[in-house]
Symmetry: D2
Subunit: 474 residues, 4 copies
């Protein structure tokens, strides 16, 4: 199975985003443990830091730590959390080097409505403008994360009522956001009006659960109820669970959730991630056949697609690459010079399988092209006669402003190149990308339409045409 | 790809053993870095501790640490190592709970031949007797690892010459051992006369390299030269490289290297691990067909075999299980009660794929059966109509005394049960194991014969019929 | 010498407060290092966490960590700080159990005047009210430290100008506060209008330095210039150094700076801490003589006074108690039951010196009385015939609201007891406290008047008569 | 009080040695805790590492860690230790940079007499020769600490009986050694025939306790019984406690125990450390009077002596120097350049006290002279008109081979200089050392004679005239 992409990051990869998990229970229970397990199952969405907040009678208790979930909690006993009615958690991935516990989430703050914890997955396009406006209002900021802007905005509009405040804030926010908000006795979940990031609803006994992906529901043995709707604000408290809806916008689920981010055992808005990947492979086989001896996939995320390519084409599936499972973000290079050896440490060509063979190699996507180039070179060195790349997504031509770490036009290998030029650049014998229509077809069981702006430039909302690296100079 | 089994351990698994990597260079170089990368590629053979020793003019400098290679060296700069002629490294897996840096390797000691570093992969059957004899000779022991016994034994016979001492010691040792030994200017590699554990020879420019597996040669871009022969003692120093040979014994390469331990991109004694697994799947399909809708493999090690089972049978391959890549030995359970949720955190059934399906599920082996039982239960709960287990190795009926953590007859589910009884025990609709002949055939390209004592009880050497748990009471 | 009181804390002690150190340099220099050394010398004022902020062209870079200064910076190289014009640092002592890096200082925030770092020593009496008002203004709070309230308040009034904002904020604050504030190119130092906490000015080449105590000036070889005046706001930038003054209030330097907090080599507002302690001893000898064989002081802070008591009385000075220098806050008791052995571990009676002797024992103060009781018991057990306590400060009858951890009337042994009753309670043969007039005389070289509210209840500003434990329920 | 000298080390100091603490109880108890507290009280004798071993039915369980006692045990719960009959512990100081947990003690080993734990305080002069002989016997060594040599030697002679082995080994050892040895049911304590290092016997209920110093007996509320005799081998087991005696040698208690090492509240062989220091000051005053305004002592170890100098001379005692209590071995210098500022950070002159004064300054000893030089310079800079050094021990002219880190003749400032030349070198107005006879007189209540070889070159045993740096090249 194929959802772990951490290992790929050092080379050329979109970075993962964040994951959220929350629960409301009408009776006081050990919710911290449940959220811990939920975050564990969402670990692939963020490995930088993890945090859990639980309500405690008159307040909120929380713990955040750096690293994988068990590391983040290695010095903190979950028994320190009281039995409670509400708990939310967050795993974070950050694209900045200065990762820092002060930027960890949930963000816990005290304002007009008392103590509130907030967890956010997404990226706010207008956070700079909002921050400036809030500063004019007299707000001070202690971090540079969007979450703090959202917190201040919610607080700004919460004079009478928190839910009203959440709604008004959500309407001001431009960008992608999935929010979990808790007070000492209420759980609020928000999915932005575009539905860019996933959020689903589950049930376990009398607990109401919200989670970035269904796989985390499975991990705590909860039952899937339904996906949250774009623009939905769900409120759980002692009076039950009700939903409010904001104005609908163009449906824009990030299609990279299917291509790359989500765990294959998750089902997002009605579409199985596994199924979408399988269909992608089949479509690539139909559209871009090539005479070859073997088919293979770059582990882990392209293996499912590669196998269905093989089935469809009748060319046998054979592993061409093996991956060192233990290479992670913790890798500390002995020194600069030995860095170039890195890719050999991370992935290895199976010479036995590829020698003298014409190979079709599937990968999920190509961002900068550096990893792809190394892989092609490695396979050729291992004796592959031909390497034909088949990519399970269209050419990435535009930056993403909604949470994927593809920052500027210039860094994208597909920005101004044809498939032929890309093949040349990578040293591959051919490179073919999926067409946008085909990717749509692969994901056609989705109840929701997609954002494919990185392929077609059609952003679901105005983004000022700014490259993200400018946006990041906060 | 499929070599990572760490995740499986908490349930029911053979534990990995150790890995060794060494290099001799006629000119002084930064060898520490190279050994670091080599160990990195052998990480799957041991995650408990790692260590590297390098020669330094008149002595040996070393560092050992707990955890994965990068963790073990996180507080130690490889730049502290001088340029040198010899370096050896070791990754360790221990079967005892009291893992301890004092038990880390290489073991560095000073005796008749000056300062020596020793790294060992294997298990010595007569270490208790040897220890007792050495104690009678006046030796004191500071650890309970076999390596210390081997060190004392080598020293005992080294009055005139280290190589002579190594040879004589090797002849006294009963069991499995792959040894790397270094002084300030010599590298010695030993493979036991049975060839139980693998050891291969490589070359990079003028460096001579020895490694547990070929994948580590690839990782440092070295060229594979040949496998070490059973009973071979190879010596590299400024005069070049020569080999001595001990009396030949019955060829006994541990067949579990192919079934489970080794990385699939390694080639051991002429036989590709990947190929052996692929053939296993094919043979299982021929011998134990079953009417089913889908075929799948337990990730990671049974996926290759499952895919060839699918190809051979014509039943489509579909993932039935997904694995949380981030679950490792670092997992700290919140508390005892939540432990039972563990398996859901670690592996998840792909309901979408298995619901209503008759499933053939391949696994590499069954030791105690506890994991298999959980997996079958999970798949049935996810809606699988039938689960037919096909195991890529014969029934394990006997303990191993050579380094695999299967300790007593009693714990083995296959000890006194028929396939039918096992199926019942696991809740599976059928369970079929490979026949010994078939496994041999799958590995028939091996230049070396195999030890299959855990299946047939034919130990290559007398083991006193003792269960390992008694042996471990040192 | 006598300024370390950490060791005493677990028993019965006022907790230390905080220390601040800042520097402005007209040319860019390695200021981080200098602040590091400054904090090192102020370590006695706070051991919980330490932090340093330095300006960096267009912003502020900072690091905070838990523990003593070198620990807090053990994972951070000071070389990461750029050469800069401004830097401030802070050592923190907290009275709450939940010490937390999120509460560490300096607090760095972005508001109307851009990026600002703020370090605070003191305690704000009206912080709850201010917090509530600021929440009404729309502010959100992420911690419960006063510093965050001060930051928001400064920002609130900084529409046009930061200095104006600092001034207006300072006028709203009721309580004790010594503030260091920096932007990327300005250093501002504030001493509250009462002068409750000390702050002095130094010079090293062209650097302007501000520090809680003069000992830190000495430690970086800077020259003492003068003490900051109560109500002074000093501003250093490229245009030079100017001071603004707020309305004068009753001079109220906390007299416990002399009795207990400050390092004896510091000179505060013209009065040598060492000298004040020496005079105290002499005055106690004159006023409360007793027929005895030896005089001794509780280490470390009462030794100077005890020695001058001895000189004045003609009774020989002899050590009665020795202290384990290595006992610190890091002490982790093996278990609850062995806690009672603690005091023996921390301090030991010198039986040799006290056996059969009538002893005059000086201590700096008595808060709850628990330590004093243990010490008297220990000395009697060691054979002391009589133990006469002489205390270098008056009876503490009232809580402190300005930064000393004496929280409620009830916990104070002196609250409702006469000296005789206290002696009885402690098992001492007599207890005599200094008179307020005498303590004033001992400190008469001070340029500033004192706050002695804990003795006389005359708070320099209205404190609502609330016990501090109520105030702390934020 | 004055026993902490850690802080002084970086400048110019003898390094501390080790401390041992052991207990035998006829009934099984929580002895680990008691040893923990004992070591805590002996912390001044070694801060590098700490370890505790306890018997456990059929074996020995132990834990060792780096740093101060509470740090060394911060990741280990003392509850892991079973109730037991025997336990020993060790705090270690090492003079080598490469401090290493592998060198920690107690050393636990298995030999002819089963499992044994060994803790050692002292230094073996002939350890190189013994090591070589043992290597010839076939022994291998894994560390370069003397303790391993002693362990092998004890084992060598223990064919029939452990006590016999200990005795024979002790007779082979040349040098200083205080040993604690335990099996699962016996405690053995050894003090070398010269009595170089102290060892005393205590009692708590039915527990027999041995400790380096009496202060540790006090800390666990045990009763002092008597000092161990030079050459005594004490054995405690279920049959009671008996002593064996080795041949008597010249009594040679290291006089530096009184001058510098021991805690002032300890009484060693009948002589109070406090008393010896007090008398030293008095004698210095009588022999080397000087016209001066104030007397002071270098904190901490010279304060007692300085005070009695003041009393005897009639010149008032005043602190001239204050010490930063928080400076420890954990100090990590920001960088090389800022190292020179170090001494200001560690100690500070009390300008207020010394300005314009003629000062008599007492120190315990002068080894290399570097610290003394810095102190004199600092005092002069602070305005002292004259600085007269009075040293509480004679001129050190010879290296120590018994555990004090004074390694070669060349490094000793007193090696070839007169008092006048030394004064010149240090910038002092005069320097006078105690005479050997006077130091003897100060310690005249000792039941034991002293080793004063560092003053008079009369080593109690042959030391081959080798400088220690040669001896250390093991």
């Amino acid at each position: 199975m194929n959802y772990s992409r951490t290992g790929k990051c050092p080379f050329d990869a979109m970075n993962e985003e964040c994951g959220v998990f929350g629960v409301y229970s009408p009776t006081k229970k050990d919710l911290g443990s449940m959220v811990f397990y939920g975050l564990y199952a969402l670990q692939h969405r963020g490995q930088e830091s993890a945090g859990i907040a639980v309500s405690s009678g008159d307040g909120i208790i929380y713990h955040k730590g750096m690293g994988l979930v068990p590391y983040a909690f290695s010095n903190f006993s979950l028994n320190n959390f009281p039995k409670s009615n509400v708990s939310i958690g967050h795993v974070r991935y950050s694209t900045t080097g200065s990762s820092n516990i002060l930027n960890g989430q949930p963000l816990v703050f005290t304002g007009k409505r008392g103590k509130i914890a907030l967890a956010h997955n997404g990226n706010i396009v207008n956070s700079d403008q909002l921050r400036e406006e809030l500063i004019k209002d007299g707000i001070i900021f202690q971090t540079n994360i969007d979450t703090e802007v959202i917190a201040a905005l919610i607080n700004k509009y919460s004079d009478k009522d928190l839910i009203e405040g959440v709604k008004m804030a959500a309407e001001k926010l431009i960008g992608a956001f999935t929010l979990l908000i808790m007070t000492k006795d209420v759980l609020i979940a928000v999915r932005d009006s575009y539905g860019i990031r996933p959020l689903c609803l589950g049930k376990l006994d009398d607990n109401i659960i919200v989670s970035s992906e269904t796989c985390a529901l499975d991990s705590v043995r909860a039952e899937f109820v339904r996906d949250m709707k774009p623009g939905e604000i769900l409120v759980s408290d002692k009076n039950g669970t009700v939903s409010f809806y904001m104005e609908k916008k163009r449906e824009s689920l990030c299609i990279f959730e299917h291509v790359y981010f989500a765990r294959p055992d998750s089902i997002i808005d009605g579409c199985s991630v596994y199924d979408a990947r399988q269909k992608s492979g089949r479509l690539l086989a139909k559209k871009y056949p090539v005479e070859a001896d073997i088919v293979s996939g770059v582990p882990d995320s392209a293996v499912v697609a590669a196998r269905s390519y093989a089935e469809e084409s009748g060319i046998p599936y054979v592993e061409a690459l093996t991956k060192n499972r233990y290479v992670g973000r913790t890798f500390i290079q002995p020194d600069q010079k030995s860095r170039e050896k890195y890719v050999d440490v991370k992935m290895n060509a199976l010479k036995f399988n590829v020698e003298g063979k014409r190979l079709v190699l599937l990968d999920d996507s190509i961002v900068r092209g550096t990893t792809s180039k190394k892989i092609v070179t490695m396979l050729k060195k291992a004796g592959a006669k031909e390497v034909h790349l088949r990519i399970c997504s269209p050419i990435i031509k535009h930056p993403c402003y909604f949470g994927i770490d593809m920052q500027t036009h210039d860094e994208l290998i597909g920005n101004n190149r044809t498939e032929k030029e890309i093949a040349e650049e990578l040293g591959a014998d051919s490179v073919r990308y999926m067409k946008i229509e085909d990717l749509k077809e692969a994901c056609s069981s989705s109840d929701l339409g997609f954002c494919m702006a990185c392929f077609d430039g059609k952003y679901p909302m105005p983004v000022d045409g700014k490259d993200k690296d400018k946006l990041r100079l906060k």
